[in-house]
Symmetry: C2
DNA sequence: TCATTGTAAATTGTTAACAGCTATTTTAGT
DNA sequence: ACTAAAATAGCTGTTAACAATTTACAATGA
């Protein structure tokens, strides 16, 4: 089975679209999400929609009140934001340490590809895709180190952090920072990789 | 509305029962959870059951494969376990710092009550309830400091950690450790509270 | 005028039937 | 006896109808 043959459940596609809308700010905090409207919009029944709303609630992007419904969560206050940054760093530092000597040439090729996508999207001023490429880059490392389990935990933290940033906030410096991360990992320099990650995660 | 009047959705009661079964080891890793059987057991249809399975999957207690079903997740390997401990400490240290000077006499009374329940359950050798009292104690602090949002993140980490322990692993030393946490918080000694928490979380 | 009660519309929660997929078993062929 | 294709049983995914709850609004009375 080729990677391109991987089928993505409808539910996951809808979740991805809604996550993107929330992170990008198209759906502002306190926006109410109506199950019927969403069902009509995506051409499915309310069942899968409810699944998605439950998932995004667990991810912290939505809040749900019984018999009332789901709405977009508020942004984090500064002290919570700092805690999220701290936790995200812990996870990615852990990943960097675990990955020492474990990355193949294929892995580095994939990382280079995502860095290129980051740079190109930035030049095209497609900041939504910049954010996605950025997240994909880090996600790749976390996935490689801790599998789906660790990604799930990490993802909650990242998404919640991202809600606090305007999309245009992703700086061009990210290219050089990601470059430094790749180079350190390639040389097996764990300390340098961790330092580069600390720079990049803020 | 009094606190005792709070109604708990069926879905949440079922989730609580299953979480307890998994943490206690009654449901071993790789045990398959059949939706129809669960629906029959709890006297509801498959709808709410699916909600619960989705939630527990997001919490990391279950793993789901599309068109196949949900089964109990494996325990964490040592390196992941250490990361979880690390993250849990970060969250609870954060809580202790935030709570300095914020706790009322009612709060301390509630904490004392949970500590008593911990001790009494231990004497009765009801280790399932010991675990619950332990979790409730810490949960109270996290909730007070960071609200439902922080509890959700924290809970994932705690539940996953707990899967790695046999229920009888909770030591009697926990009583003294919790005592130290309460005392430090009462005196507003943040450093001591953090130290006591570090002792207790392992 | 304001508060309260009653009613209707809208929305979420739940159920049961049906569709589609997976995995096991049966069957046919060598 | 062994392999592979095909039928089958069991389960999950999806749907649409129904039930229960909330919310908004209008009617009522002090």
């Amino acid at each position: 089975m080729r990677a391109s043959d991987k089928i993505v459940p409808i539910r996951e596609q809808i979740a991805e679209k809604l996550r993107s809308d929330i992170i990008s700010g198209d759906l502002a905090p306190d926006t109410k999400l109506n199950e019927q409207h969403l069902a009509a919009r995506f051409g499915v029944s309310r069942g899968p929609i409810r699944d998605v709303l439950l998932q995004l609630t667990k991810e912290g992007l939505l809040v749900r009140k019984t018999n009332v419904g789901a709405s977009v969560n508020k942004t984090l206050d500064p002290s919570m934001q700092q805690l999220m940054i701290d936790i995200r760093r812990r996870i990615e530092f852990h990943a960097a340490r675990q990955l020492k000597g474990k990355l193949t040439e294929d892995d580095f090729e994939a990382l280079e590809g995502m860095l290129n996508r980051f740079k190109e999207s930035f030049e095209k001023e497609d900041y939504t895709d910049v954010t996605k490429a950025d997240i994909d880059f880090h996600k790749y490392l976390v996935e490689k180190a801790g599998g789906e389990e660790l990604v799930n935990l990490w993802y909650v933290v990242v998404l919640r952090m991202r809600m606090n940033y305007k999309r245009i906030d992703t700086p061009i410096a990210g290219v050089a920072e990601h470059r430094a991360i790749i180079d350190a990992l390639r040389k097996g320099q764990t300390r340098e990789a961790v330092a580069a990650l600390r720079e990049n995660i803020r």
